[in-house]
């Protein structure tokens, strides 16, 4: 019997497959299809201090092997989440992880303080990499001083494991990873979407209302895999890998490159059962390779 469990910081996950923020709602939407207790964890929809309407329609464009989105963190704010959503989902038997977003360091702090009090939120993912908001978001994640500052301040008020979600839209992602590790991040998750663009040539217009948006899906997988590998070799804290994972083989590749766990995102739009299929596929792989534990995969790439 293989052991699928992985440990990240002081959290034990029943398997290494989590769903990425912004692709699995607040877990309830997946419950329409299956019991989410099968999953290692769920990164909840990105939350902000106050209500955000998000960007104007159109917010999505299909591209080769992927898609662009420019949702812009639409959510009803943390107080609505605490009063209305949290009570409905808090007893799901999986790790619920909040994805927190701010436009200023002060907002990140205030938001983290509120989330920190929610007993059944297992960890906080600090999103300093959203490419679709005018203020804050990715701007914090693309320079070392600002990534350090926000991580340092949030760390002071965060008593839960702190995962920092990194942007791939940088010259050297290892520098940012090392910077947040130095300020007390417990782990890093990567990558968020790549800034991209799509145009309707006939109409001569951009396909997104915001002109640019975040690219996700299999199109970014080799780029994401490379960054996970680089970061795994640059920091001592655990790495959670994501970017275009569509099946168990993709997930295993990220673990071989150094990811302690993976997040499945855009694949859910194609088929919400893909995370469950990946869990089964990892189990099969471990059996086939005579490995006892999913942990044995982490960083075991042979050079």
């Amino acid at each position: 019997m293989v052991d699928l469990a992985v440990k990240i910081n002081n959290l034990e996950f029943k398997n290494p497959v989590l769903t990425a923020s912004g692709t699995s709602g607040n877990a309830e939407e997946l419950m329409d299809f299956y019991d989410v207790s099968k999953l290692g964890g769920i990164l909840l929809k990105g939350v902000t201090l106050r209500n955000r309407d998000g960007n104007a329609y159109p917010r999505m464009a299909e591209t080769a092997s992927g898609m662009l989105n420019a949702v812009g963190l639409q959510n009803k704010g943390i107080d609505y989440f605490i009063a209305n959503i949290y009570p409905r989902i808090k007893d799901y038997k999986t790790h619920l992880i909040a994805n927190v977003n701010g436009s200023t360091v002060e907002e990140y702090i205030e938001l983290t303080e509120k989330v920190d009090e929610l007993e059944n939120i297992s960890a906080i993912e600090l999103n300093i990499s959203c490419p679709n908001v005018k203020e804050g978001g990715m701007s914090f994640g693309i320079s070392c001083p600002s990534a350090e500052a926000v991580t340092r301040e949030v760390r002071r008020v965060c008593n839960k494991p702190l995962i920092v979600k990194l942007s791939p839209n940088v010259t050297d992602i290892t520098e940012i990873a090392k910077a947040v590790e130095g300020q007390g991040a417990d782990s890093v998750s990567l990558v968020n979407t790549f800034l991209g663009m799509a145009i309707d040539a006939e109409k001569k217009i951009p396909l997104l209302s915001t002109i640019t948006g975040g690219l996700s899906g299999p199109a970014i997988k080799p780029l994401a895999l490379r960054m996970v590998w680089q970061v795994y070799n640059a920091v001592k804290i655990p790495v959670i890998g994501m970017g275009g994972i569509m099946n168990a083989t993709d997930a295993i590749e990220f673990m071989l490159a150094g990811a302690s766990a993976v997040q499945v995102g855009t694949a859910i739009f194609k088929d919400p059962f893909i995370p469950v299929k990946i869990i089964d596929g990892i189990k099969d792989y471990l059996e086939r390779h005579n490995l006892e534990s999913a942990t044995d995969l982490v960083g075991s790439l042979q050079l």
């Binding site: 912004g22 939407e29 299809f33 998000g54 999505m60 092997s65 949702v71 739009f269």
Partner: protein
């Protein structure tokens, strides 16, 4: 919320209704859940990497003894084009049932159903399922030319059928809202519409003027179909709502048209 499924259904029929519309009938090996007029399914297009996302289609008809669902697929782009090339016996992965239904009319209501383009499918499904006396149901279908209209003769048993074409080759000439049924909108208790945005907007305007209940079914671009991607939003009086879960059917009073 009802349970949703992702299932492989077998194509048992794929026939061209005319040069741009195809009827695709899909069969489930198990009993198929109830799907009502207005609800939709999200279909995976097996293809190249160019078509990454599923494509949503309104359900045109259901048969619970045969366990089949029928879709009318109008060729609009590369996804729908590819889908119409599927062969009998092949399988399609379908996510269903998605979205909300139209508000069913009361038993003595007089209703007007207006369909254009691919919006014809849910209108005909509603005409069939509404369970009204034939004389209380008016169906108005619009297209560019007579060749774009599909054969809907068998729907005459559910209501009175009228047509418009932009070139006057079938029915009255012009857009649907220019049709004579729009002169007496107040005789209807409920108006339902599905089709291009511009068509629905002009219908909504007329219904609003006449003060008649009106629901429209929107076709915003979507990625997931079940409320997690937040891409298909429509601005409403209740804020930005997902067309896939809060719609696709909306009362015009809730829209910011």
């Amino acid at each position: 919320m009802s349970k949703k499924e992702v299932k492989n259904l077998v194509v048992v029929e794929n026939v061209a209704l005319n040069s741009t519309n195809f009827l695709i009938k899909l069969k489930s090996s198990e009993s198929i859940p109830k799907i009502e007029p207005g609800q939709f399914v999200n279909v995976e297009i097996k293809d190249t990497n160019e078509i990454f996302l599923r494509r949503p289609f309104s359900v045109f008809d259901m048969d619970y003894t045969e366990n089949t669902m029928s879709l009318i697929v109008k060729i609009l782009g590369r996804g729908s084009k590819k889908l119409t090339e599927i062969k009998k016996g092949e399988e399609l992965s379908v996510v269903f049932p998605l979205g909300k239904t139209f508000t069913y009319p009361d038993i003595n209501d007089k209703i007007l159903l207006v369909g254009g383009g691919s919006g014809v499918a849910p209108m005909l499904f509603l005409a069939k399922e509404a369970g009204l006396k034939k004389d209380n149901v008016t169906m108005l279908l619009g297209a560019r030319t007579s060749e774009d209209h599909i054969n809907v003769q068998k729907y005459e048993q559910y209501g009175n059928l009228y047509f418009t074409t932009e070139d006057g080759s079938l029915g009255e000439k012009g857009f649907v809202t220019a049709h004579s049924v729009f002169k007496n909108l107040k005789t209807y208790n409920k108006i339902y519409a599905c089709g291009p945005d511009a068509m629905m907007k002009s219908i909504a305007k007329e219904a609003d003027k006449a003060g008649v209940f009106c629901e429209v079914s929107l076709e915003n671009l979507m990625a997931c179909g079940f409320g997690v991607c937040l891409c298909c939003i429509e601005p409403t009086v209740k804020g930005n709502l997902c067309v896939c879960t809060e719609g696709p059917v909306f009362n015009i009073n809730d829209l910011k048209w």
